[in-house]
């Protein structure tokens, strides 16, 4: 008897839930339209937007799960999860998953996406001079940048661990991570600044002049070495990240192993290479992949420092140029897909890691 009562879905519940769904779509659609066409004072818009973001989004969940409550238990249990994940799936699907597939599709078409060219774009980007430079530079960024970040991060983490002012030192090294690449670009443009004459206001050139050298336009004229001066900015910003994670890992090395090694007469350098490095090797791997992924997509620094001129183009800036300035959707999509292919191994590593950790 109980089971029978449960299995009846009332007409009222169905109507109600569709009503709620419809009301949500209409109301949020109207708010959507309102914000799109809004000419209000930006500050007021911001406040309203925050209200909508918090209350509106919350209300969607609230009303929909209230509607689900109207159903018998076994139906509700099936609907509810989809209400909880619904908005996330819609946003992700519309703005990330489907676009990725559409970009892949576009990469097989010409500049204005109306003629199928097969793998033509892929052949073109690997043979075109500008693109080849971008690929070469990107490799340089990934290789030199990552290596330096990991090495410096490790070195500083070890030094900080043994110093008497660990906290302050870590804060100083870590601080650049908080600021934007654009601001960092300005900071370093000033460091590299060159003006003709003896009086140099850029730190690097003043230093070089003080040592009796010739001032240089570091970021532009010294091709291809100017790329390294851009990479230094990345190192300056990302070393802090590597350091913080390494520092936590080093603290996890058991003290008794270290002490035992010291009693046996091992020097600090030997301890570092024989005990600490093997002990934190997984952490080193994680940090390395993270920085590689980050460096592959480097864009802001190059854009602000040189705009991709003087042979400093990388894949992401070339993507922007092709897509946004030349409106060449074929090349643009292809470059995006090249970036995607480059991170594919990391995606597989992540998935395997997730499965290893127990998955679900």
């Amino acid at each position: 008897m109980d089971a029978q009562a449960k299995q009846r879905i009332s007409m009222r519940a169905v109507l109600l839930s569709f009503g709620v769904l419809l009301a949500n779509i209409v109301v949020n659609g109207l708010i959507f339209k309102f914000f799109r066409d809004s000419t209000l004072n930006p500050l007021l818009t911001a406040v309203l937007a925050v209200l909508w973001g918090v209350l509106g989004v919350y209300l969607i969940y609230y009303t929909l799960s209230w509607a689900a409550e109207q159903y018998p238990d076994y139906v509700r249990r099936r609907i509810l999860p989809f209400i909880f994940i619904g908005p996330a799936v819609i946003v992700l699907g519309w703005l990330l998953v489907l676009p990725a597939i559409r970009t892949l599709y576009l990469s097989f078409f010409n500049a204005s996406s109306d003629k199928f060219v097969g793998l033509g774009n892929y052949v073109a980007i690997f043979s075109d001079h500008l693109m080849a430079t971008a690929l070469r530079n990107n490799l340089l960024w990934v290789f030199v940048g990552t290596l330096a970040c990991v090495a410096f991060g490790l070195l500083i983490a070890i030094l900080a661990d043994r110093s008497s002012y660990e906290k302050i030192a870590k804060s100083i090294i870590f601080m650049p991570m908080a600021i934007s690449f654009v601001a960092a670009g300005v900071i370093w443009k000033f460091v590299y600044y060159y003006q003709p004459g003896d009086e140099q206001i850029g730190l690097l050139n003043a230093f070089v002049v003080a040592l009796g050298g010739e001032p240089q336009a570091w970021a532009s004229m010294l091709q291809p070495w100017n790329n390294f001066f851009l990479i230094i900015i990345l190192i300056w910003m990302q070393t802090g990240f590597a350091m913080v994670i390494f520092s936590a890992a080093i603290k996890g090395v058991p003290d008794d192993i270290l002490e035992a090694a010291r009693v046996d007469g091992a020097g600090e350098i030997k301890i570092f290479f024989r005990i600490i490095i093997p002990f934190i090797s997984t952490t080193i791997l994680t940090v390395t992949t993270t920085i590689i992924v980050f460096t592959l997509k480097i864009f802001d620094v190059v854009m602000v420092m040189t705009g991709g001129q003087y042979d400093t183009e990388v894949v992401a800036t070339q993507f922007y140029r092709q897509f946004f300035m030349y409106r060449n959707f074929g090349y643009g999509s292809t470059l995006a897909i090249v970036l995607l292919i480059a991170v594919l191994p990391v995606i597989f590593i992540n998935l395997r890691q997730f499965r290893k950790q127990g998955g679900f």
């Binding site: 930006p42 925050v50 909508w52 973001g53 799960s65 209230w66 509810l80 999860p81 909880f84 994940i85 996330a88 946003v91 992700l92 703005l95 990330l96 998953v97 489907l98 892949l104 500083i156 030094l159 043994r162 110093s163 008497s164 302050i168 030192a169 804060s171 100083i172 601080m175 650049p176 908080a178 934007s180 690449f181 654009v182 601001a183 300005v186 900071i187 370093w188 443009k189 000033f190 460091v191 206001i201 730190l203 003043a206 913080v244 994670i245 002490e259 010291r262 009693v263 993270t290 864009f299 802001d300 602000v304 993507f319 946004f324 999509s333 970036l339 990391v346 992540n350 997730f354 679900f360």
Partner: protein, 364 residues
Amino acid sequence: MAFKKKRKSGKWIVNIVLGFICLIWLLPTLGLLISSFRPAADILSTGWWKVLPHQEWKAAGDTIKLPKDVDLRGPIEVNGKTYTDDQLKAGVEVDGNRLIWENRRARVISIEKQGWVTSTDLTLDNYNNVITGKEYTLKNADGSETTEKGTGLSQAFWNTLTIAVPATVIPVLIASFAAYAFAWLRFPGRKTLFVIIIAMLVIPIQVALIPVLKDYTSLGLNGSYLGIWLAHTAFGLPLVTYFMYNFISQLPKDLFESAFMDGANHFTIFSKLILPLSVPALASIGIFQFLWVWNDYLVSLIFIGNQPGVQVMSMKIADLVGSRGNDWHLLTSAAFISMLMPLAIFFLLQKYFVRGLMGGSVKG
């Protein structure tokens, strides 16, 4: 105990080496900060380190008056020694003093002594200038020029805030609901969906930009706040969901069982129990997402484009670099204003900041 002693003796070397590295790390930012307070002309004529005490030649007050008819082309005799005109132009050192023309036409030489100076001529003008905004002529990508008046960095500051706050709150809320469902509800397709989310963690956002821009253009969302919020929401969602899943799935199971016993439904459990318990995680990932949006340049560049009313700070500064690359008084102060928010968050909420960053390091 022998090794402890050995470590102590090596400690000062470690301290010095680390101190040197820290100094190198700090100098670029310090240079920007100090320069932003210096008058425009000073920045261009002397290095910012001249603000620190240093030795410099200063006029001692004494002058030597030569006869008016001294021939500047020949050797010039001063106090029994002879110099050339060029030497006196550049300044020539004699027993700790320096002789230099004070007025060449009147044949007056100034005697300078070396002394400690600090050029503490600091000003807030640069900040005033940048915040209120003077008239700029901005070059557009298509070569045309637009003159912009009155909208200085303050407008951009509010724009950035208008974009960053909803672009943080919306994804964090949506992701938390989804993370709860992934962790504690059973439904078909759960595994597949979550695997997709993990795969999306490191995806370069470039793969989404072209189609999304096309959609935005047809929907009229380009250059609107809503478009940017949605874009940042989507690009941030995989990471926030993953981060929140890791936290929510670790909560003890008993918590839910006792709540169910009391007759609470999932929505109540989520909003009354899970959200309050997740505050540390929400703070960490919220700060990460907020800073990500605050520092973002690419997404704004694509979806805001040339709409000056909606431009964010990073775009304004990048524009300044392009159009007024040598006006260091504007660039340094503008850059520092844009760094204020991140630095404040960094110093005040360091614990959450680091936690969010370590969890969020894989973001695309």
